[in-house]
């Protein structure tokens, strides 16, 4: 299912959900700024960004709780910008779950079905089906306050799926769960989405969560989309310093392009000469920044043989042992700090490299991304 699912690469496929130059203001602040976006059928889409970036507003516009000030929100061919929430084939799972405290689990799940005036038997069948889907059989008669946090989360999920919406909106759905349960639930959400084929749009500020569950991620900042890409693309080919810094850890090295040829770019920086395998469209003389992930940096106690391209010397400033990896913060000659992460493949009781040791950092020309912005 996941493999080969790339509708966005096919110009003939039209997205089911479309935002067209949508703007939403709250007083003087612009929450969403002339934003355009398409989400495809069967897609698990994540909106990722720092708090206040407009991702929740975008979600609420899709749910119908906010109307766009400008632009259009389309579902299929219908402009749903002004359609009230109770007439949209879209359901939302709230961050607080918003379960009705006076209704039982079954009553909560049946709530939406009752609004559609479905016959009783059909409601009962659908409720049982939903309970099985979220593995809560036997909990139908409980009240929300008799459930654990994880169980409440499941009820909220079942309730929002009961009406078989075309689009399911998830507003920070796992924020209230502890880390272990959150990770388990992420995989369950992926399975569920693949099985149902419903569009899932998740809002999260947790980049790991977005990377785990989503087909594509839209990274947002200040009401705009900075980049929309699959998780690997986003991580390996961020389109700006902002995205590179927001997704994962990154070392940013400033420099000036010296030459550009078929072999890539040669860049003169404060810590030596760098070579990048691919440089986009950077011209000689242009100021650029190279982004380098810590796990792509090699750490050595001795100076590697010349030529000394993509090589920086420094002193170990800090070491963080995280179990699976160790992070080495190395202070370079110009005073900047670079991070190298080293996988702890063997059980190390004593490190070869310690505090204040002189070390050398090297990396491959194809490990870096050249960013002009």
């Amino acid at each position: 299912m996941r493999r080969g699912f790339v509708p966005w690469a096919d110009p003939n496929v039209r997205p089911l959900v479309r935002f067209e130059a949508v703007t939403r203001r709250f007083g003087p602040t612009v929450a969403v700024d002339r934003l355009s976006l398409g989400i495809y059928e069967r897609e698990f889409f994540a909106l990722l960004g720092p708090s206040g970036c407009g991702k929740t507003t975008l979600l609420r516009m899709l749910a119908g709780f906010e109307a766009p000030d400008e632009g259009r929100v389309l579902l299929g061919d219908e402009d749903i910008g002004r359609v009230p929430p109770y007439r949209r084939p879209v359901n939302m799972m709230f961050q607080s779950y918003a379960l009705f405290p006076h209704l039982t689990v079954a009553g909560n799940i049946a709530f939406g079905l009752k609004q559609d005036c479905l016959p009783r038997q059909e409601i009962d069948v659908r409720v049982a089906e939903m309970l099985a889907l979220v593995k809560l059989d036997g909990f139908a008669g409980r009240k929300p306050h008799q459930l654990s946090g994880g169980q409440r989360q499941r009820v909220a999920l079942a309730r929002s799926l009961a009406k078989r919406p075309k689009v399911l909106l998830l507003d920070e759905p796992l924020a209230a769960l502890d880390k272990k349960l959150r990770e388990e639930t992420q995989f369950e959400l992926m399975d569920l989405q693949a099985r149902l084929g419903t569009i899932f749009v998740i809002v999260t500020h947790d980049q790991e969560e977005a990377m785990t569950v989503a087909h594509r991620i839209a990274v947002m900042d200040r009401g705009r989309i900075v980049q929309v890409a699959t998780p690997p693309e986003l991580y390996e080919h961020p389109n700006s310093r902002w995205v590179a810094g927001f997704i994962g850890d990154v070392n940013l090295l400033e420099g000036k392009v010296v030459s550009a040829d078929a072999d890539g770019l040669a860049i003169e920086g404060t810590n030596g000469r760098y070579r990048a395998a691919a440089g986009g469209d950077a011209k000689p003389g242009q100021s650029v920044c190279i982004a380098l992930r810590p796990e792509k940096v090699r750490l050595a106690a001795t100076r590697p043989p010349l030529p000394a391209e993509n090589c920086a010397g420094g002193r170990v400033h800090d070491i963080a042992y995280l179990g699976d990896v160790s992070l080495y913060k190395v202070k370079l000659a110009d005073g900047s700090v670079m991070t190298a992460s080293v996988a702890n493949a063997n059980r190390v009781t004593e490190r070869g490299i310690g505090w204040d040791d002189e070390v050398w950092l090297t990396w491959a020309p194809d490990a870096v991304v050249v960013l002009a912005r």
Partner: protein, 318 residues
């Protein structure tokens, strides 16, 4: 439930450590019991005793009186002198039965009117902007700053023949001649609804204000238009407030005396007025006491319901 128990456990836990602390804890628990025994149970037992006595032209105006100086004989004479005759009187004369019925009727109707006015009021307050809400609560409480009696007297002024209400109605040509508002059941209802409105509005406001707005969003999201969301979410969730407000009004209205006495007519009396007449006009303390005992028994039902609702509410919050 478990949480409440746990909380109780920790609250008592440290005080059980030292005997001094334990004494302190017991004393604190004792205070409300001492209060209730001294100012509720003892007076009630006295009233109960008087209700079983006979009127007499004496001081106090009833017999028997417990004479401990006479020893054991005094006690047996006292017990032999008690009788349930006064309760038989209450059943035999329909003035008492009619008074009780009238009180219940007035309490029911007033509570219904109070709910009809108080609910929209409280709902509007809870939906008002945050800054405005404290002002609105203040305005609801404001009448308490003037004496209750003065406010009821003010209504006499408003409702009398050439009062404000009749002048307004005449000026607007709604009526051709002044309406006799005073000394009618309408005046009683106006007075009661006016006086008890804060007791209805405040508990309702408290429950409605606490309600999570996202529940209404969830209802809308699941396909419920506003009125349906109100009916299936807001209203059921505000029922504890409705119950508290209704009983907070219903219980004291049954025994209400001042408002019907000042604003109402003399053709049919509420039980509070009948009680007053027996006590002060007829000087029949035993029958007045019997009326009070029966009234209390009548009120026990609603009070028990109120208590039940309160505990359930506390449990749900816990």
């Amino acid at each position: 439930m478990d949480q409440t128990k746990a909380a109780r456990g920790t609250a008592l836990g440290p005080s059980l450590g030292s005997s001094l602390g334990s004494w302190g804890a017991r004393l604190v628990v004792l205070v409300p019991y001492v209060w209730l025994i001294a100012f509720f149970l003892v007076p009630f037992l006295i009233v109960l005793k008087i209700s079983l006595s006979q009127t007499a032209i004496a001081q106090p105006p009833y017999v028997p009186v417990l004479d401990l100086a006479a020893g054991w004989r005094g006690i047996t004479d006292f017990i032999a002198g008690l009788s349930a005759d006064n309760f038989a009187t209450l059943v035999s004369d329909d003035i008492y039965y009619l008074s009780y019925a009238k009180s219940l009727l007035v309490a029911f109707v007033s509570t219904a009117i109070l709910l009809a006015i108080g609910y929209p009021l409280a709902y509007g307050m809870a939906r008002a902007p945050r800054r405005l809400q404290s002002v609105l609560v203040m305005l609801v409480i404001l009448p308490f700053w003037t004496s209750f009696l003065i406010r009821v007297y003010a209504w006499i002024n408003i409702l009398q023949r050439d009062g404000l209400l009749n002048q307004t109605l005449l000026a607007l040509r709604i009526v051709d001649e002044p309406v006799a508002w005073l000394a009618s059941d309408t005046a009683i209802y106006i007075g009661i609804v006016y006086s008890y409105l804060p007791f209805m509005v405040l508990p309702l406001y408290a429950t409605l204000e606490k309600m999570d707005e996202t529940l209404l969003e969830a209802a809308a999201d699941l396909g419920a238009p506003r009125w349906k969301a109100f009916w299936s979410v807001t209203l059921p969730l505000s029922l504890p407030g409705v119950g508290a407000g209704a009983l907070l009004c219903f219980i004291p209205i049954i025994g209400e005396f001042v408002i019907p006495d000042l604003l109402g007519g003399s053709d049919s009396l509420m039980i509070g007025q009948t009680l007053w007449t027996e006590f002060f006009a007829n000087k029949d303390w035993p029958v007045a006491s019997a009326i009070a005992v029966v009234l209390l028994c009548l009120l026990l039902g609603p009070i028990a319901i109120y208590q039940h609702l309160q505990t359930r509410n506390i449990e749900r919050v816990g």
